[in-house]
Symmetry: C2
Subunit: 152 residues, 2 copies
């Protein structure tokens, strides 16, 4: 599963622009870390990104990967998925989208739905706080896990 090159280019351009505007340095490490997460459709965790980035930058440290990722989250270039029992996963897809999460294997798949994007915030929620985003998470069993289950 690879992203289309044009979209990757768009993301990389936004990355450079955003870091410059924020006045933080564009280092090799940050560039390669972002390229890696921005290329993936898998919502990878920090450890996975670390392993992949190390192929290009063999001396990079895990700490740098974490620092870079949280910086990018703060800058609005990434979001995170909290998968409970699991480690944190990162998502470079900043378009309005939703997730299907497999309750067996944890696989997390994006999907788009214009109706979901425009769900009206109920009035009673406005008493709780000021809503900024609405996201739908569908839990279920993915195809692969379903097939595995059927085959005992």
């Amino acid at each position: 599963m690879q992203i289309i090159p044009d979209e990757l280019d768009r993301r990389m351009a936004l990355f450079e622009k955003t870091l410059k505007e924020a006045g933080v340095k564009i280092t090799h490490q940050r560039l390669e870390i972002f390229r890696e997460v921005a290329s993936s459709l898998n919502h990878p965790d920090a450890e996975t990104l670390f392993r992949n980035v190390r192929k290009k930058l063999p001396t990079i440290s895990l700490d740098t990967v974490y620092r870079a990722l949280w910086l990018m989250v703060d800058l609005g270039l990434l979001t995170t998925l909290g998968a409970s029992r699991d480690r944190t996963r990162f998502d470079a897809n900043m378009e309005s989208h939703h997730h299907f999460v497999c309750s067996v294997c944890g696989m997390t798949h994006d999907f788009y739905d214009a109706g979901f994007d425009r769900l009206p915030v109920p009035e009673k929620v406005m008493e709780i706080g000021k809503a900024e985003s609405v996201q739908v998470r569908i839990k279920g069993i993915c195809m692969r896990c379903m097939r595995k289950k059927e085959a005992h």
Copy 2:
């Protein structure tokens, strides 16, 4: 914030029934741990529950709290909220409901919405897997954090 006594009784009764049916022992520890999480509206974490249960059972161990909580999750008596940067939080509210999450302080508040409960699963999602539940998460800033912010 306390739960209404009737609802707590209902939850406690279901707890006993569920454990019996599953053939697992109803221990003091499990009882008090469940009572604690079932009494709360705050989505507490394991450490918080541990501290509170220790008032009644001073020798209980944190490990027991975790084991009991995950058991109850497996038995369908609790769910968890994965709050990313944070520790796991547990939820004894098993009715169909949704969450408002404050992006500043992490406060997580239940709300109910019949419309959200019946959101139709988009067709394209059926190709990803078999959906079992749909939950909406609204992120934003809670009233308290908003007031704090205004007061500089």
